[in-house]
Amino acid sequence: MTGTVTPFPAPRRASAPQTEGSAMSPSSVATAVEPLLDVRGLTISLPDGADRPYAVENLTFTLNPNEILCVVGESGSGKSMTAHATMGLLPKPHVKVTGGELLFRGHNVFTMSETEQRALRGGRIAMVFQEPMTALNPLKKVGDQIEESLRVHTSLDKAARAARVVELLTQVGLPNPADLSKSYPFRLSGGQRQRVMIAMALACEPDVLIADEPTTALDVTTQKQILELIRSIQAERHMGVMFITHDFGVVAEIADRVAVMQHGKLVEIGPARQVLNAPTHPYTRHLIASVPHYIEHRADFTKSGDALLEARNVNKVFNVGGGFLRKGRQVVAGDDICLTIHPGETVGLVGESGSGKSTLGRSIVGLMTPNSGQILFKGQNLLGLKRREFRPFRRDIQMVFQDPYASLNPRHKVGDIISQGPVAFGEDKGKALTRARELLQLVGLDGSAADRYPHQFSGGQRQRISIARALAMDPTLLVADEPVSALDVSVQTQVLKLLDDIRHRLNLSMLFITHDLRVAAQVCDTIAVMRRGKIVEIGPSRSVFGDPQHEYTRTLLDAIPGKAWEIPAELLAERAGHSAGGHPS
């Protein structure tokens, strides 16, 4: 519809000053270079009963050719809604664009006919979604799904389309593209699926690529590859990329310009260097201050006394997919694992998805039985204990779970949730409730929270409740399985602080499981790196991060996005002053 693709041959970095200037005065852009997308006063209204009237309010920004615009902001700030509005994908009929215009190369998309919009969609503007696992039709071969795009937007014949599919798959770096195009999505890993999504988006050589948190669901190493892929393709084709993320590391890695959103409003936009290093808006400053810092400078832990917990040669193998008359596949989740935790020590267990971190954690709290090995708690082997025999140890070993939404029974009051454990051990109900209120205060909530239900709390508050529940048992060892992965960065920081604080106060030992090395660096005395069920490296944090011995550890560290960027020192200072629960909004 809008004519041919206009290439902008200028190299990527070279265009930076130009856009930098344009960000200061948007109106001057039009004269210098026509923006691909020009969003003016976009307002999207939400249906009655939603948490706020507008998903996005009076949003104005541009996306130029040959640049990566990163949109950041916490969950619910309206990032996805903006992207969906651009694609004409808002959930009809209750979420509607009620104001503003969106110009694609000068044509208002909102006033176009449905046919024109369709030609734009997937043809000129393409999109990659966050969840690679669900974004592909599970019942169609991936090649066919890519081909479908070509069929709609090009006049290529069948053979040409097939060739193009293979070409695209090759371009996104997938092995065996010809075979792979005949595979169903379920056979591909998350990273591979995301590559397929990108191939699909690139099929018709779009001018604009919108990527909505395309790497959030992936491992760091995979994330690194995908980021590199997007950046190289963008450079090659001089596309305009709108990249949505909440990870400032990613922003530092790839952004040319950054837009910061909060509660549906654009609070700050500007060149990456400026926003990252000299943010002006308080919210941006707050966000950046919350970013977990790569290496925290903490004192080395000195071990004292006997090990509190010792795992010896623990092995665990899962049989997956087996059934009647059938042998399944075997997955090794624990391979000769040895690990010790001393009183007062926090051991971090890091590694990529599926490496067996949770398996080990769950074995320690007795939710899972390893095939062999020993888990000694104060010298007593917990493995092989019957349910009844294990019970006394429940008081000593407690767990904090990953998902603050799933780990609290939605039908019970917070007070009950916290006191149920002690009551099960024979404590008087009234006493347990009193103690629950004290604990709630300890974790920074009001005692009255005990009479409310979990759904009345935010994610961060719920995670505090989870922690209070664990503490109610007066444990000596806390196993925390990704306790902050589901939380926004600013909340994440608060919870981590709380954990750190409590552990010092109560002299708790902790096994801290995470896949985020930056988080691990922040709280752990000792780091154990896991890969495919094996601990490949274990040692004091400082040495593991500063002088990694194992090849895999190095790969992991290398994959952390935005390492080159240092959080401005003034913001780090500001962060130290944050009180738990405080929030500038």
Partner: protein, 281 residues
């Protein structure tokens, strides 16, 4: 969890469900006050046989023996509701207990229970119901038992599914790590959370049970001492050409009640499952 006012708001958004609730309320009132509205036994031959509706003293007409159809419908409401509710209750008891055990314990227990369930699902259930009632001679007890026996397997599967998925939910694991007993976990932690879909299917099952009872009566396998709608249609179907009203009104009563229960089921589904509630309908 939703607060109760939120529940009602969500429920009331579905107009059909409100309509259903209204009809069922009428039926319940009819059942409760049948003795007051029609003090005579519904079996009493109070009038000339074959009186069409609106004739003197017989609002909805009389049947082949001169019994009042309106009285029959009022008294029949009691039986139909009773059969529907009790058999659903029994089916719930069997189904949810078995499903809960299977889903919670998994492994061998699950396998054994599910094979047992499969066994019952493999026998065509209406045939089984007919045979059971015939064998144990028709009475309200045998009818309730037969309906319950053929209805529990889907509930068991449903409960098992819920328990299976809830069992690995983190709040259940948290309960395990805080040392709560299996029984507490099943009853206090998992059951309340699995209730929504179970309530929805139970409300639908009441409807199915009423239909099933009427079908058994149609085949002459009803309780001879209890007036029920199913019996009335079954007894009158043979004279449908001479006296349409004899099977029409009780048939309508069944239809409306079953329909309403289905509407209620949908309303509950919308209200208890907020994800669906938001969807356009």
């Amino acid at each position: 969890m939703k607060t109760s006012s939120g529940f009602w708001a969500a429920y009331a958004r579905n107009k059909g469900a409100v309509f259903g609730l209204l009809i069922v309320a009428v039926v319940i009132v009819l059942a409760l006050f049948s003795g007051v509205l029609f003090p005579e036994s519904p079996w009493e031959m109070v009038n000339a046989p074959f009186l069409p509706p609106m004739s003197d003293g017989a609002l909805l007409g009389t049947d082949t023996l001169g019994r009042d159809i309106a009285a029959g419908i009022a008294h029949g409401a009691r039986m139909s509701l009773w059969i529907g509710l009790v058999s659903t209750g029994v089916a719930l008891l069997i189904g949810v207990s078995l499903g809960a055990l299977a889903g919670f314990f998994g492994g061998v227990v699950d396998d054994a229970i599910m094979r047992f369930t499969e066994l019952f699902q493999t026998i065509p259930n209406f045939v089984l119901a007919v045979v059971l009632v015939a064998i144990f001679t028709p009475s309200s007890t045998s009818i309730v038992a037969a309906i319950a026996i053929v209805s529990w397997p889907p509930l068991a599967r449903l409960a098992r599914g819920e328990f299976l998925s809830l069992r690995s939910r983190e709040f259940v694991q948290a309960a395990i790590t805080t040392g709560q007993s299996n029984l507490t976990i099943i009853v206090r932690q998992i059951l309340p959370n699995s209730l929504s879909p179970i309530i929805v299917s139970a409300s639908l099952m009441v409807a199915t049970a009423i239909l099933l009872e009427s079908s058994l009566s149609f085949l002459g396998l009803g309780d001879p001492n209890q007036m029920s709608w199913g019996y009335m249609v079954g007894a009158a179907r043979t004279v449908i050409r001479q006296a349409w009203w004899m099977s029409f009104f009780p048939g309508l009563a069944i239809l409306l009640t079953v329909l309403s229960l289905n509407l209620i089921g949908e309303g509950l589904n919308d209200a208890l499952n907020p994800k669906l509630a938001r969807k356009g309908r």
